[in-house]
């Protein structure tokens, strides 16, 4: 059966507004959408948890692209994604191989790259009977990619699998490939952050990055600086370990799950999941910042009590 990309917009409920795009950008985006040969995206998963992909699937907006399905079907040619693609085995590996031969694809990597045991802590696939480590696959595919996206804190900085003794010597995609990456940080990243970055690439817009290669449009301000609880000493969570003052992300404005909630609004201190230092070795509740100069509070100050 055949369904055109255009037909699919009906399924996805195309409406108007949001995403912060100007009218001219929207028109340009429409042209991009109308192109059935969207840029090829290879999305690989290494030492991670799939949380970034799941978060991406939560994407919802009132203007194109309106949903994760919209992106997948209308905006890009997602040739390889382990959770979504139909093919398995050699056929799946062949898809990546063909993209490699063509070159010029967007390589999105979710998860860090284990380098212990010669990379054998994580395999990507078997190709013609040869087991290819994830480290090898990322290195090879990065060499012919037009853009490298590190999706999430593991791919960008090592993240949780690199914490503590880093048992499998996980490294970031940049460290392993020696190539510059765009780091869409977060554990997981907000779906809007992933889509914003991909849309900017589709539009050919420049994407200013901070010192950690994160898009400044998303990671330009601290959580604390826009937090609705920042000016209220009695409700600021910093004395309870909140890392908002040192964490760069727009969580207070973008909020989570279609603005259903977000961490600090749920009385949970920000634990800096977008920072290169995440998760560190200190307890995630250790008090680091004290913007109001009050007394540091212990764990039980957050718990109800008799």
């Amino acid at each position: 059966m055949e369904i055109s990309r255009r037909d699919f917009l009906k399924y996805c409920g195309l409406t108007a507004a949001a995403l912060g795009l100007s009218t001219s950008q929207l028109l340009l985006l429409e042209e991009v959408l109308a192109n059935p040969d969207g840029p090829t995206v290879l999305w690989l998963q290494g030492s991670g948890c799939t949380g970034c992909s799941i978060s991406f699937l939560n994407y919802i907006a009132t203007a194109a692209p309106t949903s994760a399905a919209d992106i997948l079907i209308n905006n890009i040619n997602l040739a390889y994604h382990p959770n979504l693609m139909s093919l398995a085995g050699q056929g799946a590996a062949e898809v990546a191989r063909q993209a490699y031969d063509a070159g010029g694809y967007i390589l999105a990597v979710e998860g860090g790259v284990p380098t212990a045991f010669g990379g054998r802590a994580c395999w990507a696939w078997s190709y013609n009977g040869e087991d290819i480590t994830f480290q090898q696959a990322v290195t090879d595919l990065a060499s012919r990619a037009s853009t490298l996206l590190s999706i999430g804190s593991c791919a960008g900085f090592g993240g949780i699998p690199a914490a503590g003794p880093n048992p499998t010597q996980v490294q970031s995609v940049k460290a392993v490939t020696g190539k510059n990456t765009i780091n869409i940080a977060g554990c997981p990243p907000h779906p809007d952050w992933i889509v914003y970055t991909i849309v900017q690439l589709l539009l050919g817009n420049s994407l200013p990055l901070d010192a950690y290669s994160r898009p400044t449009a998303i990671f330009g301000q601290t959580v604390h600086s826009t937090c609705p609880r920042r000016n209220r000493e009695e409700s600021c969570l910093a004395p309870r370990g909140c890392r908002g003052p040192g964490t760069f992300a727009n969580c207070p404005t973008v909020q989570w799950n279609n603005k259903a909630n977000w961490c600090v609004n749920a009385n949970a201190p920000c634990y800096a999941c977008t920072e290169p230092s995440f998760p560190g070795t200190a307890s995630l509740y250790t008090v680091i910042y004290n913007p109001h100069g009050g007394t540091n509070l212990n764990c039980n100050s957050c718990h109800d009590d008799d």
Partner: protein
């Protein structure tokens, strides 16, 4: 002549899985005669947790799996509650259940439509449906169009389930709101109203779309009521506590052997993990035999588990990063079918399609229950109690050959992930995590062979599966997907060899139920003086 076919990667599942099947003609049918499941990613979570503050456990362990993070958060706070000797208030119990339920419903919808359905669907000529294997596609055009449409609708429905969960959980995946002693969120009436609106849509979808689609699939592929049966041993820890003691649950704890309807109690001491075919150093136990001491390879109960990864190139007999958990020495399947079977809600059969049907039925049962639980929230009630990690004491030794003994505190958190039984075994010493053992559902389901050469449940389920085309072994993938494997969850390493203190716990609190009890210092939880070599079972 038999042929070995490798599927690597097996896509549309969580994590990294390689399957190797041996296919041969048997009675005129080309079918699977042997199978090996290989977990191909290793991260070492228990090492990452070692020496961290125990209150970080629920955040770190959620990153084991972004598809079922809430189950790990739940298991961690259950273990922490027990170690701290506290009981979460009713509001916290309810909100934990609501977020766990939202995650389960999201995962079941995702599994059916996005991970499994493409095995049966010749979808539109675009990714993610194409390219695909083009064998044994039986749906007509109308059915295919409807399923493709529902694929997209289901993306939205699973998103709504996440949004409902985030009202209490703060965000999904990886909610930050689970804490020892309760929950951080203060519920509001507006939040409850919004939750009911979102979950109402999801219930409607499960009832009127998901379940009918699962039934259509089962009817169209009725031969898959016979395919993929496996060992037919089922294990469920149960979840969704309905009271503060945990004595009542929506989904019960129990186990059955060979598809029996007689449900038996679960004795946690009957769980052991074998590493004969896993890329870990096989633990040895020194036992006396006549006048000699023998080193004998052992399986380990998770409460005493020790794991040392080895380079796969150095242990060629092994073939997986997964260990092989066994109950009473037998391989057990876990998951929605096991839960619904143990609960008496679904006992129609054990097969590929029975797993799909039980999963859909469970999604409805849980989603409907969530709508009743949310009304039990007391807006003026508290959401947490104070929780403290008990203080260890060191008892000096008078014998220079015997090291001093430091008390530690252990507890177990047992719950259910969408794909099956999940257990966290926690030990705290000197205010830090001194051992953390995680046995996940896919550890059970996708486990490799054990010391007696018995296949894991998924491997066994593949035996006898007909394969039309060796180049397009879609039948094999259908069997695998029916288990909803989650490989990131499954692959784990325990603590390294004990460094400063060599001891393992002598026993842990009795069998089935996991409750705290008093000890000398006025705390609740499990205190252990340590002895070596208990809790092992000889191979």
């Amino acid at each position: 002549m038999s042929t070995i076919t490798t599927i690597d990667p097996v896509t549309r599942l969580e994590g990294h899985l390689k399957i190797q099947v041996t296919v041969d003609m048997v009675k005129g049918v080309q079918q699977v005669i042997d199978a090996k499941a290989t977990g191909t990613l290793f991260r070492g979570f228990e090492n990452i947790l070692l020496n961290r503050h125990p209150f970080d456990a629920q955040h770190i362990t959620q990153r084991i799996c972004g598809v079922c993070p809430v189950s790990h958060g739940m298991a961690a706070v259950m273990a922490l509650d027990a170690v701290c000797g506290v009981t979460a208030p009713t509001n916290a119990r309810i909100m934990r259940n609501l977020v766990l339920g939202a995650n389960l419903v999201d995962s079941h919808i995702l599994h059916f439509y996005h991970l499994s359905a493409p095995d049966f669907l010749d979808g539109p000529n675009m990714p993610p449906w194409q390219p695909s294997w083009r064998v044994d596609k039986r749906f007509n055009t109308d059915q295919t169009n409807a399923l493709v449409n529902n694929y997209v609708t289901a993306l939205n429905m699973r998103r709504l389930a996440h949004e409902a969960g985030a009202i209490f959980g703060g965000r999904l995946p990886h909610p930050p709101t689970f804490i020892a002693g309760g929950f951080t969120t203060r519920p509001t009436s507006a939040g409850i109203t919004k939750f009911k609106g979102l979950m109402g849509q999801v219930v409607d979808f499960i009832q009127n779309t998901f379940i009918p689609d699962a039934q259509t699939l089962a009817a169209t592929y009725a031969d898959y009521r016979q395919i993929g049966q496996g060992h037919r041993n089922l294990l469920a820890y149960g979840c969704f506590d309905l009271n503060s003691s945990g004595s009542s649950r929506l989904l019960q704890r129990g186990q059955v052997v060979d598809g029996s309807t007689a449900v038996q109690a679960v004795n946690l001491q009957s769980i052991s993990e074998n590493m004969t075919y896993s890329w870990y150093r096989t633990p040895l136990s020194v036992v006396p035999l006549d006048d000699m001491m023998l080193s004998i390879p052992v399986s380990q109960n998770p409460a005493v588990g020790v794991t040392n990864p080895v380079d796969p190139a150095a242990k060629t007999k092994a073939y997986s990063w997964l260990k092989a958990p066994r109950y009473n020495g037998l391989p057990y399947e876990t998951g929605p079918l096991a839960r619904m079977w143990v609960n008496g809600d679904y006992q129609a059969g054990i097969s590929v399609m029975d797993r799909h049907l039980a999963r859909a039925a469970e999604a409805l049962k849980v989603a409907q229950a969530m709508l009743t639980w949310v009304d039990q929230i007391n807006l003026s009630g508290r959401v947490s109690v104070s929780a403290n990690i008990p203080t260890s004491t060191t008892i000096p030794s008078t014998n220079p050959n015997v090291p001093p003994v430091t008390t530690s505190f252990s507890a177990i958190g047992l719950t259910e992930a969408p794909r099956g039984a999940l257990g966290h075994w926690l030990q705290v010493t000197d205010g830090k995590i001194s051992r953390y053992q995680i046995v996940t559902p896919t550890c059970w389901n996708a486990s490799p062979r054990d010391n007696r050469g018995r296949r894991g449940p998924m491997e066994e389920a593949l035996i006898g599966t007909p394969v039309q085309d060796l180049q397009q072994p879609v039948e094999v993938v259908r069997v695998i997907h029916s288990f909803d494997p989650c490989l990131s969850c499954a692959v784990h390493v325990m603590r390294p060899e004990a460094g400063r203190k060599i001891f393992t716990l002598a026993h842990y609190h009795g069998g089935d139920e996991v409750h705290s009890h008093n000890h000398d210092h006025g705390h609740h939880g499990h205190e252990h003086h340590h002895h070596q070599n208990h809790g092992h079972s000889l191979e």
